[in-house]
Subunit: 138 residues, 3 copies
């Protein structure tokens, strides 16, 4: 009833937003599940999952601007003072967005809006190799 797959994605970090819809759709197609729910979880504390209209304006500018308001890159973070690193804002942004997302499957396909894609946002300050657990319950 549960089938788990680990998706591996290389990112550039620094708030890069990646469209995971093709990879998740491929997993669904392989499982031939007609009616199911897909549960996605990103491993790690500096990345998060959500959906967005995957177009350059939102992906490269508008989302970054919102996160810069909530947790500015160059602000005071006790995390950075303690660990002598530079990714305090990455942790805060990731915790706010959250690491988990679910998407329904009906008639064998992901149920998303026409302009709605599944995304990973990697908030870390360096390139990362990410793992996203994709579990299908059917």
């Amino acid at each position: 009833m549960i089938s788990s797959t680990i998706l591996k994605i290389d990112t550039k970090g620094n708030g890069q937003i990646l469209d995971l819809t093709p990879q998740v759709s491929q997993v669904i197609a392989q499982k031939k599940s007609d009616e199911a729910t897909v549960f996605l979880s990103v491993i790690g504390s500096t990345a998060g999952l959500t959906t967005i209209e995957y177009e350059p304006g939102l992906v490269n500018h508008d989302m970054k601007a919102a996160f810069e308001k909530i947790a500015p890159e160059h602000d005071r973070y006790v995390h950075e003072e303690t660990w002598h690193d530079d990714n305090g804002h990455s942790h805060v942004r990731a915790s706010l967005l959250g690491p988990s997302l679910h998407v329904p499957v009906m008639d064998g396909r992901l149920v998303l809006g026409t302009w709605q894609q599944i995304i990973l946002i990697d908030f870390d300050t360096r390139p990362r190799s990410r793992e996203i657990v994709c579990q299908i319950l059917s």
Copy 2:
């Protein structure tokens, strides 16, 4: 084990917050599931799901004020420059809130706090007919 229902809700957009608890409770009652989990997903990239104490102060003022801080309605959005529309803030707010939510069912009823209701927030700038996929795993 999975039962999917699509809830259809007409909204006014513009950040309107709608209480979905009665509709979701009705689906649960019909399924007669004693122990289950309900998975909700809103289709589209300008609306989101969460829970709130559904009272006028929070619903009509306080939540809007917070979203206005994070993604002001009248700010610069490259999304709007590209597509010549006015809902850049709607997309950003929806992605931050997220499109998915789950709620437990025990003894045949939704497990929520006394002052905790399931809500849809429609951030788009015009009235919309929304579809929320409600999947019960039992």
Copy 3:
């Protein structure tokens, strides 16, 4: 296939962040599920769930600073004017963070990053006895 457990946690409120990973791991260990998904939901409208690197800098300072930007404690909340209380910011923060989180289980263990813990944030302005529903689907 579904097994529900209620975790009871006493908090200090006021944005206290508590690490739930040990309690959730214990539930997993008791169920002896090899492959599963854990669904967590906090009951109530002034607390939320997410993951974080559970270290003092983020937990005691950096996360609070971000929430203070989004929904300042001493701001105008119509909720407070209506109900003559002081926790308008608690409600707004909780709704933004969200009450639900899922975490995968593989080989009988929670799949989390090395520096990624499951947390409850209690935004209320007083100590609370919280209940978190922990459902394992396997």
